[in-house]
Symmetry: C2
Subunit: 161 residues, 2 copies
């Protein structure tokens, strides 16, 4: 029970939202790492996509959404072909750096303005970023089931270090 608010109307600052997201992204990276190389783009349950394909979808909506908000250019990544785990992790780290680099260009107005993301999806900047983060958590939760079904203990959910 401390820390008087510096900006009374602020639920969360841009800096805290970035740290929250990057914490999730660190956890998702550990889930990718936990998959055996030969299961990442092959194993599935219930006819769903392999986790590697879900991770490529998450990559396609992360940095590109921040770039869209900042630059007005919405370029979706459609590549879902299997990759070596090391290459997927390399792209993950590249996106991490791009998000960190672009984030300071987001002004408070970016979070509240309306955008048609990727020419199709209406919503505020906050809506779009929340969707991206939520979609990552959703698919990562599915990755946890895959790992458990493979007999592998997933990374601890609450550890975002």
């Amino acid at each position: 029970m401390s820390a008087a608010p510096t900006q009374p109307a602020t639920v969360v600052t841009p800096e805290t939202l970035l740290e929250h997201w990057q914490g999730h992204r660190r956890l998702t990276r550990r889930v990718i790492e936990a998959f055996p190389e030969d299961q990442l783009f092959t194993f599935s349950l219930g006819g769903m996509r392999p986790f590697g394909v879900m991770a490529l979808e998450v990559l396609s909506t992360g940095a590109p959404t921040v770039r869209g908000l900042v630059t007005g250019e919405w370029i979706s990544l459609t590549d879902r072909d299997p990759l070596p785990k090391a290459e997927l992790l390399r792209r993950w780290d590249e996106a991490t750096a791009e998000i960190d680099a672009l984030w300071p260009q987001l002004t408070p107005a970016h979070f509240q303005q309306e955008y048609i993301a990727y020419g199709m999806y209406p919503g505020t900047g906050f809506n779009h970023l929340a969707y991206v983060i939520d979609n990552e958590i959703h698919h990562r939760g599915q990755g946890y089931v895959y790992l458990r079904a493979l007999g592998i203990e997933p990374p601890v959910f609450y550890d975002r270090s």
Copy 2:
């Protein structure tokens, strides 16, 4: 590209965060509904908990966390016993109403102050609420895999109506 911000430093207003969460809660309610009565507390994959037990965990951290922030009383629900689906949905709706009723009592300071939630977990009010929402999305994603494995089409992820 419209709507000038009314509070320039605000990434998201308390009202928008509530609507975002209740949208997720409506989707999770549909996932509960989609389970066959006889699978809700029995079906599992990879040795994980049945979805009904996960839903009870989510209930135990939702309204009680808002209540903790508002009143300072952190009372965790530990009941994880199987319930009829109708009773689980009744408790879900009760929590929905309680969250709506308590939420207007959250001031901006509540989101930024530090709390030891449930006497154990340190973090700001925003951290605690984000954890609760993220944990719900995480387990619901697992429920999607269970439904698919049962041959049932899950509710559409992006529909929060």
